[in-house]
């Protein structure tokens, strides 16, 4: 593995998260869109989402989206301003911290619900 630094990992995570949320989006469209086939089809798909595993998986989706969008903003800063490049490393760590914070908050909201069966 090339021992690249922050920039390389930021890019790799950005690409992976982008592709992952694209995959999720495609499934999401199918599941929500299934509505047009009536309540039964919709709910049968939707029940799968109710499984604890999936509900926890959504924490990962939040992480992915948060990381991708924050890092996306970082990339835009790099593209548009000289400052962005100077601080690209710090911006990467900020992105990570905010992403983890967002995931923690989601977990804090979701896990009690999962445990409580709500």
């Amino acid at each position: 593995m090339y021992r690249g630094r922050e920039g390389q990992w930021a890019w790799l995570l950005h690409r992976l998260s982008g592709l992952a949320i694209l995959a999720y989006l495609m499934l999401h469209i199918v599941s929500i869109g299934s509505m047009i086939f009536g309540e039964e089809v919709y709910m049968s798909i939707h029940e799968i989402y109710d499984l604890a595993l999936f509900r926890l998986g959504l924490i990962a989706v939040v992480g992915g989206v948060l990381y991708h969008s924050l890092n996306g903003l970082r990339v835009i800063l790099l593209d548009m301003t000289g400052r962005g490049i100077v601080y690209q490393r710090q911006l990467f760590y900020a992105t990570l911290v905010l992403t983890l914070a967002g995931m923690a908050f989601t977990a804090y909201k979701v896990i009690p619900r999962v445990l409580g069966g709500y």
Binding site: G18, L19, L22, L25, I29, H46, D50, S69, D79, Y118
Partner: protein, 125 residues
């Protein structure tokens, strides 16, 4: 032996702005999507439980035109943004020309189908 490429060889290469435009689009759509998607997740998942996303709740929400537009924007922008993002990856990793053609054709068709399906879904309510 190396023969240096001449000025004229290079001059004759054609030129379009397609990549520039996609690059700009990725950035603008990205900024817009940040608000749309984070808002969407906040409202439909973090604030309320997944359990609340019942058929009725979804139908109720989507009957309001403002939400219809909101969701359709997410649908189209993120599909287009994601599709172009995936194109970057395909062009990087799928290196043989014929393969790239097939992978791209199938992928774009899928995206288009999803877009039509999602749009019909949204507006059929």
């Amino acid at each position: 032996m190396i023969r240096a490429k001449t000025y004229n060889d290079a001059k004759q290469q054609s030129h379009t702005n397609a990549e520039l435009n996609w690059w700009i689009f990725m950035r603008i759509s990205g900024v817009v999507l940040t608000f749309l998607i984070l808002g969407h997740i906040w409202m439909t998942y973090v604030q309320v439980s997944e359990k609340d996303a019942t058929f009725d709740a979804v139908v109720f929400k989507l009957q309001q035109p403002a939400w219809k537009l909101y969701d359709w924007l997410i649908l189209s922008l993120s599909l287009l943004h994601g599709a172009n993002g995936a194109r970057y990856s395909i062009e990087d990793y799928v290196r043989s020309r014929p393969n790239r053609f097939w992978v791209k054709s199938i992928f774009y068709t899928l995206i288009a189908a999803l877009f039509v399906f999602g749009t019909v879904g949204l507006f059929s309510i």
